[in-house]
């Protein structure tokens, strides 16, 4: 699974543009979005839990972070804002469709400003 996902991401962004975080794969750290934490009301503790993840992401120097699931997306998005990294956090499907040239104007909520206008599919349908 971990290797399949790397294959897909590298195919989309180009081998040279993929930066793994450290540690990675099964040694990686949970971002803090799981286990019900998002809805538990312990928001301060949740952000503290996620500090490791935010530092890991910043250490890669990557422009974007791709999240594999909704809980992670939600949590890492908040980490990016809270700790001031302000790196965009995107779903994998967004990047796949962008690379295929089929990502419409209304499917770009989470892309950063650098990619918002890139290769827009049916730009005339923007709302």
């Amino acid at each position: 699974m971990a290797e399949d996902l790397r294959y897909i991401v590298k195919s989309i962004v180009g081998e040279e543009n993929f930066i793994d975080m450290t540690p990675n794969r099964s040694n990686n750290y949970c971002c803090g979005g799981g286990g019900g934490f998002l809805q538990s009301g312990f928001n301060e503790q949740r952000l503290e839990f996620g500090r490791l993840k935010d530092e890991q992401i910043k250490a890669t120097g990557a422009d974007y972070c791709i999240a594999g699931c909704h809980n992670c997306h939600d949590q890492i998005h908040k980490l990016s804002e809270h700790y001031g990294g302000n790196y965009p956090v995107v779903h994998l499907w967004t990047m796949i469709c962008l690379s295929l040239g089929i990502l419409g104007p209304n499917e770009r909520e989470y892309l950063g400003d650098d990619l918002k206008e890139v290769n827009v599919f049916h730009p005339e349908t923007a709302i």
Partner: protein, 243 residues
């Protein structure tokens, strides 16, 4: 600065950890701890509420039931299982945490998690946001029609609900249909281009399962059963969990 030493009670009583050991395969290896600390050193929840996984396990092993049953830390461990992965003895600390969660009176558990679980029990959708099967089906059909028209290359795209005999049963996080329906479309496009024969289900489509996190085991089981039974009724071969 060192923390004050933990004081132990007198004689050994029947303790919570023994009950948990009885219900886990291999007892969750809960009595094999070497106190090496590998779990704690890589746990992002270490330090929250003055707790960490090794300490939690040691306190449980020492019979400090009151302390482990009352610390809100059990709601801050995300059950991510990294501690099991790095543990030389493969000790199942998250299962211990889950069982402690389950020992809290339901109404004392975090309100937000209770609320999301209760929403999922309201109707057959099993959606933590409470959306009904009718609402979900309507949104999917509506968005699909819109995109087929706006992007004619995808005029043949499908996003079926309850398609009998589809190969894949796909669940869906509630956030998209309820708050940002356009975000469902990229995945539909990928499935379309891949030629996948897939379907959503009107029952059990909600991908999130807060009853599991709430440690309400009966409700958790109800949600899984609703979804899987429906996938089986439709004759689907593969269950795709998008969560």
């Amino acid at each position: 600065m060192a923390e004050p030493a933990i004081k132990l009670g007198g004689k050994r009583k029947s303790i919570f950890i023994d009950k948990v050991k009885e219900i886990l395969p291999e007892g969750g290896n809960l009595n094999l701890c070497l106190t090496c600390g590998a779990c704690s050193s890589g746990c992002p929840a270490t330090g929250l509420e003055g707790m960490d996984p090794r300490k939690f396990l040691r306190m449980a092993a020492l019979g400090m039931d009151e302390e482990i049953m009352s610390t809100p830390w059990v709601w801050m461990c995300t059950l991510c299982q990294r501690c099991i992965y790095v543990c030389p003895m493969k000790i199942d600390i998250p299962q211990l945490v889950h069982n402690v969660r389950a020992s809290w009176p339901r109404e004392k558990r975090p309100k937000g998690i209770i609320g999301s679980c209760d929403m999922a029990l309201r109707n057959d959708s099993c959606s933590a946001m409470g959306a009904t099967p009718e609402d979900f089906t309507f949104v999917v059909e509506d968005v699909l029609e819109e995109y087929k028209e706006a992007q004619p290359e995808f005029a043949d795209m499908e996003a079926p609900v309850d398609k009998q005999g589809a190969e894949f049963f796909l669940n869906q996080n509630s956030r998209e249909p309820v708050t940002e329906p356009d975000e469902m479309v990229p995945l539909w496009k990928i499935l379309h281009l891949a030629g996948a024969n897939w379907t959503y289900g009107s029952k059990g489509w909600g991908g999130e399962n807060y009853c599991m996190f709430l440690a309400d085991d009966d409700a958790w089981k109800h949600i899984i059963k609703t979804s899987v039974n429906h996938a089986e009724d439709l004759g689907c071969k593969i269950y795709l969990n998008t969560e």
